[in-house]
Structure formats: structure tokens, C-alpha cells
Amino acid sequence: MADDWTTRINTGVPNPARIYDYFLGGKDNFPADREVAEQVVAIAPVARDIVEDNRAFLRRAVRLLAGEAGIRQFIDLGSGLPTQGNVHEIAQAVAPDARVVYVDNDAMVVTHSRALLAGDNTAAIEADLRDPDSVMRHPEVRELIDFDQPIALLLMAILHFVPDDEDPYGIVARFRDALPAGSYLALSHGTRDIPARPDMSPEAMAEMGAKVERLYQLTTASLVTRTHAQVERFFDGFDLLDPGLVEIQLWRPDEADALLPGGFYGGVGRKR
């Protein structure tokens, strides 16, 4: 995280949100971001695919939540820079009355989200998910979200920026306890676990993960990959929907062509 004395926006320091934007083919990234992103791609040519796969996982999860799960309230934690197919667009295409709050602690992300995403039934706030109360007590969250009705909490590709010493499990539990029964948690998370990939050896995959983690130490948020068991723990108190916590590419894919799995785990759970 940036120190307090740094400016709120610093395009000279590599930033995970803008690196992600670069992977998605966006134009809101700067040389420092591209330098790291290109090094990541050099080490892990699949990085771009994984990021695309993550967006596709988000789409499928939100469609399910707004559709058959009947959810009308979404809190997207660590929402990132606006792109094609943002959560409110996906949700409102299924359920026009769906309400969405985008939450991010990055000033540039919040500026863009307020300008490009906020509108009727949609808000963007600046808050840090590591302080759950600052999110849940935020006036704009209180205005849009009814904590007596089921809520979908989205944690897409964000908890791997919260190291263990910042208590990621405690953070998720704090949110969970504030949600009414029947609410949902949808998350994806980077992993170094060995997928059954025909094109990579287990050693190569582990080595690649370690190198990518080292590169992210140059950015404003370091990356911590986790194992299947570690990611599954985030779902304590939730019942995982089929097919459970799996590689995002294998989570209810809607294309006939099987995508190569790996990189991120994803799942959707319903609060007991």
C-alpha cells in the first residue's frame, strides 16, 4: 500500500488496477504499469488469458446471482477500473432493478468509477475493504443497500492482495456476519496450485507463480497466491454451489470449447 505521504494518484508507480487494465487491453495504464505487466507476460504468457477468464467468471457468477439466485444487491469489493461489461451492466441486463456499489481504495479507480459507472441504482465509493466497517457504514452504501435483504458480496481477484498479517479471513468473516442468511459470496483468487494442464509441468507452474509474486512487490500491493484449502476457508459459513471451488475456467463454463484451467480459483457460496 502507498504510504500516507505519497500523492493520491501516482502514475509513476506500478499499480495492480492499471496492470489489470493493461491485460484487458484497456488504455488507462502508464509506462510503469506496462513495464511490470510486460514482465509478467514474459514470465507467464497465460496472464492475459487468466485475466480474461476472470472477467468471464465474473460475468457468469453475476448472471447466476441476478438470475436464478434472485439477488438484487451487489457490493463489489476492490472493483478496479471500469471496463467492458461492468457488474451493474451484467446484473441490470438480467434484473433491471439490481443495485450495485463499487468499492475501491485506489483514488484513480474511484474517480473513474464515479464518473463512468455511478448512476441510478449504482454508486462508487472510496473505502478500504480491509476495514469492513468503513464500507458497511458508508452513507452511500447505507442508502443503496438494505442489510435486511440478501446481498451478493463480490471479491474478484482482490484477496490475493491481502497478506495473512492483514487478517483476510477475519475481514471476510466480518462482512459475512453482517449479511443476512441467503446472501452470497462470489470470489476468485490467484493460486500457484498445479492445474492439470497439458502444456505446463508442475515445477514450471510453481516457478512461474513465485516469479510473478516477486514482480508484484514492485507495485503498490503485493501479491499472495493461496492453495485450494486456503481459498476454500474464505467460504466458512457459506455452502458452495456446484461445482464448488474450482479453477475459474471450469466454473459453469458456457462455451463448449474447454478453456485451459489454472491461475485462479473461483467459487460462489450461499450464506447459511
Binding site: 494518484i9 488504455k27 502508464f30 484513480m108 474517480t111 473513474h112 464518473a115 463512468l116 455511478a118
Partner: protein
Amino acid sequence: MTESQSEFGGPTVRRMLVGAQLRRLRTEMGLSREEAGEAIRASEWKIHRLENGQVGFKERDIIDLLRLYGVTDADEVAAFLLLTREANTPGWWQHYGDLLPRWFRTYVDLESAAALIRTYEGQLIPGLLQTDDYIRAVIGGAQLDEPSEEMGRRVRLRMARQTLLTREHPPRLWAVIDEAALRRPVGGPEVMRGQLERLIDASKLPNVTLQILPFAVGAHSGMPGAFSILRFADRELPDVVYLEHLTNAVYLDKRDEVERYLDVMEYLCDDSEPPGRTVELLERILDEV
């Protein structure tokens, strides 16, 4: 430069300008891309690529297309071909020193092809949001000393340009306006009240985001002057920075230069009041006019 070489040159502002003008001429004739393609024995896709400035132009194709689009005046065709030739020459940044109507027109074409228009204005209300009375007052104040029919033409041109925001599939306008531009009583209190009301209405459009940069910020990154950044939907097209001066306009599309402006724009947007406060602030200023 042969076409095959320029195919790899990447799109430049000039190509995008030529392409945008071809698109305007075609749509004014009510022709589809497919119909235009037939005239030059090419596919709909080729026309799409030409109009996006993604491929070099063959002179014969341009002549055929211009004929199809009803451009037959020899001087006009020659001027267009000159622009086409320049467009085929790779060059990252271009300097348009033409007469006002022409560069203004080319900007309008480019602007209408954009998906996102980010603009910062320190002194003026952004052109896309000016009322006709405000435009008249600005032109009057500039002491351009031009005949009234010329002024009428300019006002009409600017008003026509504004239909962009309410057309089908409009671009998004994200504007930062310095409080100074809102406080200066251009044309007197009556004109300014009308202008502020116009801004309040505009900020309620779903595709318009207005942010006010308050005096309280003090010195800020946009002080060197107004600028606009045009972003196009196509991933391959670079952002273009547009700077308007008294006698000409400058377009920048060299990445490092554009990024300086993007950087400044980020600071300006962060320093400004969030868009959710704009209506309230405009109403307060309106009360004080």
C-alpha cells in the same frame, strides 16, 4: 510510401481524420458501408478499416469514393487528396495550421468518432455544453471583427456539433470545469444564468459527467491550459489530445505526450469535486449570479 508499407505504420491522427471525413460524407449520402465498398470493389470490412484510419489510402479508391459521395469540385477533390497523401506518411504528431473553419471541421469529425471525450476547461464552458447566447458573447469578446453572417454560421456550426451528445449511441463526455469559468459573467448575468441552467440539465444526461474544480484547490496541474482527450472504442486506435489556440489547433497522438495529458487529467479529476456534487454546486453559483 506504398500502401503495403503504410499498412504497418499504425493509425495516425491524419488517417483517422481522413477516415472520419469519409465516414461523414458516406453517411450524409445515406449509403451503407457495403454500398460504398462496391464502388471501390472492396468489402464492407475494408470500408470499416478505411474509416477507422487503420489502413493506408489508395488515391484511386479515394477518387471513386468521393465521386460516389457527390464531391466533384476539382479543388475540393485536390484538397482531399493532399490530406490523404499526408495521411499516408507516418508521423506521430501533426500540426494543423489551417484556417479556422477547416481545422474546426476536422476536429468535429474526429470528436464524433470518439467513444469518450475527456475535457478540461479553465476559462470557458466546454464547447459541447455552451448555449448559443454564450457562444455569441465569447465570439463577440474575442474581437474577431467578422461579419454577422460569419458569426451566425459559427454559432450554427457549434450548435450542430452539440447534437452529438443526444444522438443514438452518443459518446460519453467527462468534463472538468474550473470554477473560474462558471463565475465569469460571460455575456452578463442573464446569459450566464441560462448557461448554468444548461449545465445543470446536461449533467443529468446519462452520458455526461461534469466535475467542478473549485477555487479552494489553489494551484493545480491544469493551469497551463485547456485540453481535450479523445478516446476511440477500437483498441488499436490511440488516444488523441486536442489543443485549441487562437489561430490553429494541435493534435497529439504520440504516446508519451498523450500520457502526460492523461496524467494531468487524472490529477484534475481527483482534485475536483465528485460528479455527485455538481448539480448542488451549480445551483449555488446560479443563486449568486
